[in-house]
């Protein structure tokens, strides 16, 4: 068959019932791309000799090198059968787990799928996944059992054995389909039950009917299964280029043997045998030990062919077979030393795989016009929204979907499932094409002119007129410049949207709405009736208007330009990169709903931090990451608060591809990827009651340890007093103020409450700030109620003697004024306005007074909570209670204390208060003058050698908090992921092993109803999650796939500063306690990263150093 012309395809695109949109799905390495090759070859796009070797649709270099497909790509094929011409839009998809997002994008655009299964390996994990994906998208699958040649050549099965093997595979596939079906039925059943129950309770009493039938009996599932006699199974060997369905053989033998083909169709697969004497087809081949019909009539022929061509190389027999089959084999192939060449030459004529597959596809898979109402509703109802709840106008569009008409009046509905990057060189506009006669002539003329000019210029250069020289040079420069800009243009990546038309005709130059995934069609109702994208409209969130720039026919690596694309076709749309991020819906009707988001089987979990090799190339990296994000449906990119650029991918292979893409296409710079920074939190806990060996602490005698004593001494510097209850008292350097602070652990619930109500706290903070300036901030009633509720909750959680009245005494929250730590005012005789003043606006209690430098104490607290003493990470769940705060406030005292000459000399100025003088002296004058607000003095702000007093107080408060923190048992808190793992029963043990190795903890495990899958819920420290997904996949051969979501912070139970102190602990851990301490490990890693001091010996054992220098 010759190359199909573009015109032909355009003509075919208009015949919707003759279009088939399908994708090829399978486990990795089951031969999807090879099969696609065979189908492509049938259209003469590639040579049939190269089919299976070229992997035409794997256009990326790394795809070819690795031998796996990494993206879905489409190609349009033409196929004629029985006088009908079909257009087949074929999408090849990747099989590797990491790229299952690409599968999702492919499946969405199709109406049918070819599921390929390896005849040797059978059903693999990814096969199950793709079957599920097809099921979820409501598309109809057909089965191709591929690589049958391996049964013959590698496994050396007899035809009888192969038959049973194939049967088994078919059973496996059907089992998967069956379980999908049952789980769906059970789900529906559960829903119904829930509804029934609610209605039951409404009815009150009544006859309770217990129905124990699972509902499976009532639902018909027979049309779901694969069976050769239904014609939805093809047996093939794509690499050798052959494939057949029972149908073909039935036709063949009905002519030969005179049995009706319908009878043969029914009996060719199954437990039937041919009774030659009775000339009857009988049932029960197995029990009678006879060859089943399938073996006798089909497999045996193929087996003998392989035997003759590959195994024995019997030339005569081959020739005989060839003539009996009526084939023509070129003598070149006959003489070829590789028997495979001959084999494929014969087979591809005898049983061409493309013929078998494509005819099955045309017959069994639906055309775009046959889209089911159920699927339309599913596509249109976003998220949990029911179809019925959509606006009326939107519901009307359902008809347009079902009609699938290419009329002028039909609304255009297009779904874009992904964006892919194309080199601008590959775009048809930029493609080099042969020049026409006139153009050549024109160019010649131009060249001649240029030459003449140059000569003229040379002549004038010889003459002394210097001014003339400039012109050609200038021109050269401008030309060079224009060349440069042209080159830059060329390097730009172009994005093409991978899309399908569901209704109407999409034309070049048409004005359309681009609807983002979060677009809400009910917003469109506000727009004027009958408006179109061409009108000027008010902006609606997630909606944009644009003109269709260019339309392409996707032909694998090539793109062909089109002017219009009628309904039901897969296409590429150019020039959409500014409007579409990853996926979108395009329509002429604003009431069109965005399609449901794609079902991604794999969520991105592998996180890495990427950095450019050359730091100056940062902007390029950011630009590249943006492009990558657009081009990849599954990758996520973000900049973290720490300044890291993080790339999140679905797996290691995906990561590798993303990095390659960044390096070579999008950023074009060298980059390096590293482990991302892991956040921690610091906290204090109540003194533990038991020690590391679970012995009661109080009863034991502590063994005196020398170095312990030494440590105690170095812990607190001079001027810090710590009493036995953990109260830390600290004085500012100028000895003017003393603060006493105690750290108390907050109950876990309180911490969580504070974390959940950050916004409320922020509002309260703002209110206090305004109140400070005697202004009021209006907070709406709803928020006030929420704050009230929050306060009540806090009170109920802070019970007990220790916390009496604590909620009222809250001074501030931190860090950043809204964090999960509390500053408590326990200073006797100091009443300051509470943080809850927004609630008490009406009552207006006695005016509480704010002391001077109140703010400094709060700032000190903010600083202390922002970075803790363990490894400078933020604190969490700590309450600092300020118990004493003494100030020596009188001005003369201050000056005695801080013997500051400046303030002494400034003394005279206090009286005359010379405003205009802005010499240094005025500092002191203002310092000793009273501060307006309180009317108290402000001696503190005197300038002494320690800097401004407010600063000193901040520092003192911060230090006091830190020491108070250190006086309590300190702990690190680790960020935790919740991890949901789906695994089959046989790999359960390995999943547990990986989890426990990485400090994970299993929370629950349950079996999914109707399947043999277990769902395991576990928590895992973020610090241990690097490479976790990959490890678990490797260890379970891909049968378990984890999903990680950040959940909460958890205290690491081990003490990072722990050393054995009791007899038992010595026995257990030895004196040095060198067994690994998880908390210490984390803490030191963070400290080392931050360049903080790490208590580590440079050399562990002094005696074990290399003692000889090199030259001795």
């Amino acid at each position: 068959m010759g190359h199909t012309s573009l015109e032909k395809i355009i003509a075919l695109q208009k015949k919707t019932p003759h279009i088939r949109n399908l994708c090829i799905l399978a486990h990795v390495d089951h031969g999807k791309t090879t099969l696609a090759d065979c189908l492509v070859a049938s259209n003469g796009i590639i040579s049939s000799r190269l089919a299976g070797k070229l992997r035409y649709l794997d256009s990326r270099e790394d795809e070819q090198i690795r031998g796996i497909t990494m993206k879905s790509s489409a190609i349009s094929l033409h196929y004629t059968t029985g006088g009908n011409e079909y257009l087949i839009n074929l999408i090849d998809s990747p099989g590797h787990v990491d790229f299952s997002s690409e599968v999702s994008t492919a499946v969405r655009l199709c109406d049918g799928a070819i599921v390929v299964v390896d005849a040797v390996e059978g059903v693999c994990p990814q096969t199950q996944v793709v079957l599920r994906q097809a099921w979820l998208e409501n598309i109809r699958p057909v089965l191709v059992i591929n690589k049958i040649d391996r049964l013959i050549v590698e496994l050396k099965l007899t035809s009888q054995e192969a038959y049973t093997h194939l049967q088994k595979i078919l059973e496996q596939v059907n089992a998967v389909t069956g379980s999908l079906f049952t789980s769906k039925v059970l789900e529906e059943r559960a829903e119904k039950d829930a509804e029934a129950q609610s209605s039951c309770t409404e009815n009150g009493s009544g006859d309770q009917v217990y129905d124990w039938s699972a509902g499976l009996e009532e639902t018909d599932d027979s049309d779901l299964y694969f069976s050769p006699d239904r014609g939805n199974v093809v047996f093939a060997s794509a690499i050798d280029g052959w494939g057949f369905s029972i149908h073909q053989f039935a036709e063949m033998y009905s002519q030969k043997m005179g049995i009706r083909s319908s009878v043969l169709l029914k009996t060719l697969w199954g437990d039937f045998y041919l009774n030659a004497k009775a000339k009857k087809i009988m049932k029960g081949a197995q029990s009678k030990g006879k060859k089943p019909l399938f073996v006798q009539l089909v497999l045996d022929n193929i087996w003998s062919m392989y035997d003759a061509v590959v195994t024995r190389r019997d030339k005569e027999k081959v020739e005989k077979m060839v003539t009996s089959l009526g084939l023509k084999v070129m003598s070149r192939d006959l003489r070829h030393s590789d028997p495979k060449v001959l084999l494929s030459a014969i087979c591809s004529q005898w049983l061409p795989v493309s013929q078998a597959v494509l005819s099955m596809v045309c017959e069994k898979l639906p055309s775009p016009a046959e889209i089911s109402a159920e699927r339309v509703e599913k596509l249109m109802s976003v998220g949990a929204r029911r179809f019925d709840s959509l606006p009326e106008q939107t519901q009307e569009l359902k008809k347009a979907f079902l009609d699938c008409s290419a009329d002028e009046t039909a609304p255009v509905i297009v779904f874009v499932s992904k964006m892919f990057a194309v080199d601008s060189k590959a775009l048809p506009q930029n493609k080099q094409r042969p020049l026409t006669q006139e153009e050549i002539a024109q160019r010649r003329e131009q060249a001649r002119q240029r030459h003449a000019e140059r000569q003229a210029a040379n002549q004038s250069a010889e003459s002394p007129g210097a001014g003339c020289i400039a012109t050609p040079i200038n021109r050269c420069i401008t030309e060079a410049l224009s060349v440069k800009t042209a080159v830059e243009e060329d390097n730009k990546e172009h994005f093409v949207a991978f899309a399908r038309v569901y209704s109407g005709v999409l034309r070049k130059g048409q004005k359309v709405f681009v609807l983002g995934p979060k677009y809400d069609p009910s917003l469109a109702l506000r727009l004027p009736e009958g408006c179109s994208a061409a009108d000027v409209l008010p902006s609606v969130p997630h909606m944009a208007c644009c003109t269709v720039d260019s339309l392409y026919l996707l032909m694998g690596r090539e793109l062909e330009e089109l002017d219009e694309v009628p309904t039901g076709n897969v296409l590429g749309i150019g020039g959409m990169e500014e409007f579409i991020l990853k996926s979108a819906t395009i329509s002429t009707s604003p009431s069109c709903p965005p399609f449901t988001p794609l079902n991604f089987e794999a969520t991105p979990i592998v996180r890495v931090a990427v950095e450019p090799k050359h730091p100056s190339e940062m902007p390029k990296l950011v630009r590249g990451m943006r492009l990558l994000n657009q081009a990849d449906p599954c990758a996520e990119v973000l900049i973290q608060e720490t300044g890291e650029h993080v790339l999140v991918t679905a797996g290691e292979v995906h990561l590798q591809r993303c990095l390659d893409d960044l390096r070579e296409r999008f950023a074009k710079i060298e980059i390096s990827a590293s482990k991302p920074i892991i956040p921690f939190r610091e906290t204090v806990i109540r003194p533990p009651k038991v020690d590391m060996v679970n012995e009661d602490m109080g009863k034991q005698q502590k063994v005196a340890v020398i170095h312990q004593v030494k440590e105690e001494q170095t812990k607190y510097p001079e001027g810090v007093q710590v009493d036995s209850t953990g109260l830390v008292t600290l004085t500012t350097p100028n000895k003017m103020a003393t603060v006493g602070v105690r750290a108390i652990p907050l109950p876990e619930e309180v911490t969580r409450l504070l974390e959940d109500n950050v916004e409320l706290i922020r509002t309260m903070e703002q209110f206090s700030l305004f109140a400070w300036e005697d202004k009021t901030l209006d907070i709406n009633q709803k928020i006030l109620e929420n704050i009230q509720e929050f306060k009540v909750k806090l009170e109920s959680n802070l019970q007990g003697r220790k916390w009496r009245g604590a909620v009222e005494r809250i001074w501030a929250f931190g860090p950043r004024r809204c964090g999960p730590n509390i500053l408590l005012n326990s200073v006797e005789g100091y009443r300051r306005p509470s943080v809850w003043q927004c609630l008490e606006r009406e009552k207006e209690t006695e005016k509480a007074e704010i002391r001077d430098f109140d703010n400094s104490i709060a700032s000190g607290f903010q600083l202390a909570t922002l970075s803790g003493p363990m490894c400078e990470e933020p604190l969490m769940g700590v309450c600092f209670s300020v118990e004493t705060w003494d100030m020596k406030l009188s001005a003369p005292l201050a000056q005695q204390d801080s013997i500051d000459e400046d303030s002494q000399t400034a003394e005279p100025n206090i009286d005359n208060q010379n405003e205009s003088s802005d010499t240094h002296e005025t500092n002191a004058s203002s310092a000793s003058s009273n501060r307006s607000r309180s009317g108290a003095e402000a001696a503190g702000s005197s300038v002494d050698c320690y800097g401004p007093f407010s600063g000193q107080l901040i520092a003192a408060m911060k230090e006091a908090c830190r020491y108070a923190f250190q006086a309590k048992p300190q702990r690190l808190m680790a960020a935790m992921y919740t991890c949901e793992i789906m695994a089959t029963a046989e790999v359960l043990g390995r999943v547990y092993a990986v989890l426990s190795k990485r400090e994970g903890r299993v929370l629950q495990e349950e079996m999914k109803e109707g399947t043999d899958m277990f769902i395991i819920k576990a928590v895992l420290p973020v610090a241990e999650s690097f490479g976790f997904a990959d490890e678990i996949r490797k260890r379970t051969s891909g049968l378990a796939s984890p999903q990680l979501v950040f959940s909460h912070w958890e205290v690491i139970s081990s003490d990072p500063f722990w050393v054995p102190t009791t007899e038992e602990e010595y026995l257990h851990f030895g004196e040095k306690a060198d067994s690994s301490n998880q908390a210490l490990k984390y803490m030191n890693a963070v400290r080392r990263r931050k360049g903080l001091y790490v208590e580590e010996k440079i050399v562990e054992h002094a005696e074990k150093q290399r003692t000889l220098s090199k030259n001795k």
Binding site: P615, M618, T642, E644, N855, P948, G1091, K1097
Partner: protein, 229 residues
């Protein structure tokens, strides 16, 4: 006195000598290499891992032991271990190779961390990572855009002083984010942290304590993660 010949010569290869001059005498102790710093920082707690022998020498390489009398006059004790710890703590030492290396590394890290902490990328207002800063420092010919993270201040000035002060403050302020001049002048602005004291002083002096100054944030950086889209 022993005679030094190649045969009875003992090479001290794993030895770091710590010297101290006290009471006009020179004292030395023999320690293991790369251990003295650990001892001083408190990481090493076992004295035997630091000292080769609990002996105080006059000259380690010659093996001359210090006299008991000199010891007691210098250290006030005859306990050798006590004398050793004193010398260890205060004596001058030859820094060993790996000690020096780790010191340098530590210093370098420190510098990079401080830079990373205090500075931001002026375009994105986000900090650079320490690793990136380190790399830039190492390859000096490279350059990145860097800016001291600004401090966000808010000050309220009485209307009387507002106008006058504003002119004085102008050169110190980088950007004014918010300005409200009704009854009093209220400004939210970004400044270079280096100017903080100047501004603080200026406001306090000029308004005679009537103006208030508040630090809203020590460094103005973008908070939260940003998704690139």
């Amino acid at each position: 006195m022993s005679i030094f010949t190649p045969t009875n010569q003992i090479r001290l290869t794993n030895v770091a000598v710590v010297r101290m001059k006290k009471a006009g005498k020179r004292f030395e102790i023999a320690c293991y290499k790369n251990k003295v710093m650990s001892w001083r920082s408190g990481a090493e707690k076992d004295l035997d891992e630091v000292l080769q022998t609990h002996t105080v020498f006059v000259n380690v390489s010659k093996g001359q032991v210090a006299k008991r009398d000199d010891l007691s006059s210098a250290f006030g004790t005859e306990d050798l271990t006590e004398a050793c710890t004193q010398i260890l703590a205060k004596g001058e030492l030859q820094v060993s190779d790996r000690e020096r290396q780790s010191q340098l590394e530590h210093m370098f890290r420190d510098i990079a961390t401080i830079v990373a902490e205090k500075c931001v990328n002026p375009e994105t207002k986000r900090p650079y990572t320490v690793i990136l800063i380190e790399r830039v420092i190492k390859q000096l010919q490279q350059s990145i855009q860097i800016q001291r993270a600004h401090m966000r201040l808010r000050f309220v000035l009485p209307a009387r002083d507002g106008k006058r002060l504003k002119e004085k403050l102008r050169p110190l302020i980088k950007t004014v984010e918010n300005e409200d001049f009704t009854e009093q002048l209220e400004m939210v602005c970004l400044i270079d942290p280096g100017c903080f004291r100047d501004i603080d002083e200026l406001i306090r002096c000029e308004t005679k304590g009537k103006g208030t100054l508040e630090v809203l944030s020590l460094k103005d950086v973008e908070e939260g993660d940003e998704k690139l889209e």
